[in-house]
């Protein structure tokens, strides 16, 4: 390019630099095309099929599928399971982040790995472990039966399985954040006479609130959508121990495809709402961090 006219060294260097830090338009557009096609095939298509199948037989079938008593019971159970497991895992996440993020101690990385474990354990195994413990043939089964306590094939088992599967989500988001923030601010607050709790509520928590929210959102999405683990411990009693994903499977097995996809679309909508919330949270978090940077820039 530069060889057509007399090469001006400055221009040459600049054009080389541009050439070397961006790509030719055709490369650029083909990369975009590849990315869009990949995401389109793997993300858009499944989403599209859920909604198109859900509405295949009209809005009345769609609404009817959601208002049917068994569907309502499944929605309720899903909300209960998420409503119990998410707050508990949130409390755990915050505590773990405080212990791991603010202190150094022996065995810390082992502890982090153990916290991550449920993330990579197969959902099937997560269900199995509760059967091995609470099942009638399991470790505690006979004792539970003698005392008329029900864990698996009842709500507690479903909550436990959900808690296990979503266990690491909040902790996983918070630990690196808390770690990155260091301890200076808290130390300053303590030196100024704040109590431990005050420091935590006024300094630490506000600093990580977006990360926390982000973790909670992901945790909730997973809690509502868990299938494998819950399926092992549910017993599939219609109207009693079926969560939404299990109800979808049941409808599907009754050849009620449109209603199955209708309930599925509700979960897909939830997924989309989750993504929207996540985008907003990320945007807020970014805004906060640039603001902080700007403020620290001004302070200098």
């Amino acid at each position: 390019m530069a060889s057509i006219t007399l090469p001006n060294p400055g221009v040459l260097a600049a054009s080389r630099a541009v050439q070397a830090t961006t790509e030719q338009p055709w490369v650029r557009w083909s990369l975009i095309a590849i990315a869009v096609a990949f995401l389109g095939v793997f993300l858009f298509l499944p989403l599209a099929i859920v909604f198109s199948s859900a509405l295949e037989r009209g809005v009345s079938v769609y609404v009817g599928a959601l208002r049917e008593p068994d569907a309502m019971a499944a929605i309720k159970l899903t909300l209960i399971a998420a409503g119990i497991s998410v707050p508990l895992n949130m409390i755990f996440g915050i505590t773990a982040a405080w212990a791991i993020g603010k202190f150094d101690f022996l065995g810390k990385s082992l502890l982090i790995t153990l916290i991550d474990l449920p993330f990579s354990v197969s959902p099937v195994v997560s269900g199995l472990i509760y059967v091995l413990i609470f099942g009638l043939q399991g470790l505690l089964g006979p004792w539970l039966a003698a005392h008329d306590l029900k864990i698996i094939f009842a709500v507690p088992g479903i909550v436990l399985a959900t808690m296990f599967v979503t266990f690491p989500f909040v902790a996983r988001e918070l630990i690196p954040l808390v770690e990155a923030q260091g301890t200076e601010e808290e130390e300053a607050a303590l030196t100024l006479g704040a109590s431990g709790w005050q420091t935590f509520w006024r300094v630490t928590l506000p600093n990580v609130k977006w990360g926390l929210l982000y973790g909670v959102i992901l945790c909730n999405a997973r809690a509502m959508g868990e299938f494998g683990a819950v399926s092992v411990v549910s017993g599939h009693i219609r109207g009693r121990t079926n969560t939404m994903p299990l109800h979808i499977e049941i409808l599907y097995n009754e050849y009620q495809f449109a209603p199955a996809f209708a309930v599925a679309s509700l979960l897909a909508l939830l997924a989309l709402a989750t993504l929207l919330a996540k985008t907003v949270v990320e945007w807020k978090a970014r805004q906060q961090s640039t603001e902080l940077q700007r403020m620290s820039g001004e302070a200098l």
Binding site: I152, F153, I237, R238, N253, E254, Y255
Partner: protein, 333 residues
């Protein structure tokens, strides 16, 4: 906690108002009985209310037969089990001792109030010209059947094929083994339950022929698309006897034995038999069978006793790990 409170309230209620006004039964069943028990539960509730004044609610759980039995073994509080085959109820008796091992003799007809058989469903016009079992092992014919290791229906399918080949060859087991080997070489998908297989065949367009429960095939042909599928009836097939039982330990603990017992006995009544027939199960009652004769094709039926002894023997010989199914299946790979 909530259960304890409920229990307490129930006792309190019962003592105030005379014996129990409301009973809840849990019927743990296999996949294809969903429609049957939907109708039957409503009918039984009405019958029981008239007879005793008691309100009865029947909760249903459906799934693959073995999966359901596994749940009961692990503590799912089933008052009643209505499963695809006797072996699964035997397993509950053997592994969890929730009911006596002679459970099968407690109700008429081997505790099997309705029967079925195994037939074929093919695509409209029968493009592969499938007429009988021998056509299923032709090269190029794709056969859909669930996994016999996990599905009760699939075990009946397998034994029907085995029985056909065994009887045809005059009892030559190596011929029968060869037949099922060729049959499973033609199977592209092994769903874990009968319902999964029907969906694969009907909705996903896989396969040329579905080996299915007669009741599933008739339901599929009559309700999912008369214009898309045809029934093909083989020359001979097996008499399937899905079994029912109360789960003694559960009903005694919950105090629901009388209702649970009546629930199963009512299945043998003319009304119960009629509901079964309407849902394409072959009724035991000769009168009801005669009434619905047109709907059930004429097949020469053999029993499991004719070809494989009892279920425990069949399970050990064919379906246990390392059994004939495993042998022919891995030899195919």
């Amino acid at each position: 906690m909530i259960r304890k409170v409920c229990f307490f309230v129930a006792i309190l209620g019962a003592s105030l108002l005379g014996f129990g006004q409301r009973v809840t039964l849990l019927n743990v069943s296999y996949d294809p009985t969903r429609e049957l028990f939907q109708d039957y539960n409503a009918a039984f509730a009405k019958y029981w209310k008239v007879k005793t004044g008691q309100d009865v609610t029947i909760q249903q759980s459906h799934g693959g037969s073995s999966k359901q039995a596994r749940a009961v073994i692990d503590g799912l509080d089933a008052d009643i089990v209505t499963l695809a085959l006797a072996y699964d109820i035997d397993a509950i008796a053997d592994k969890a001792h929730l009911l006596p091992s002679n459970w099968q003799s407690r109700l008429p007809n081997n505790s099997s109030p309705y029967t079925s058989t195994i037939i074929f469903l093919v695509r409209k016009g029968n493009p592969k010209k499938i007429k009988d079992w021998d056509d299923l092992i032709r090269p190029g014919v794709s056969v859909i059947t669930p996994n016999p290791k996990t599905s009760g229906g699939a075990r009946w399918n397998y034994l029907a094929a085995w029985g056909y080949a065994l009887r045809k060859s005059g009892g030559d087991e190596s011929k029968a083994r060869d037949f099922v080997s060729k049959l499973f070489a033609n199977v592209p998908v092994l769903d874990s339950g009968a319902r999964g297989s029907t969906t694969t065949f009907v909705e996903r367009g896989m396969g040329d022929v579905l080996i299915a429960w007669e009741n599933e095939a008739l339901l599929g042909a009559n309700e999912l698309g008369k214009e898309r599928f045809e029934i093909v009836v083989p020359s001979t097939s097996i008499l399937c006897e899905p079994s029912v039982s109360v789960v003694d330990r559960v009903v005694d603990k919950k105090g629901t034995r009388a209702t649970a017992q009546a629930y199963l006995e009512y299945l043998y009544s003319p009304e119960g038999q009629e509901i079964a027939a309407k849902r394409y199960y072959r009724p035991r009652s000769a009168a009801v069978l005669k009434k619905y004769a047109a709907q059930f094709p004429n097949v020469k039926l053999f029993t499991i006793a004719d070809i494989a002894g009892d279920w425990k023997q069949a399970q050990a010989k064919h379906f246990a790990d390392g059994g004939i199914f495993d042998q022919v299946y891995s030899a195919n790979q």
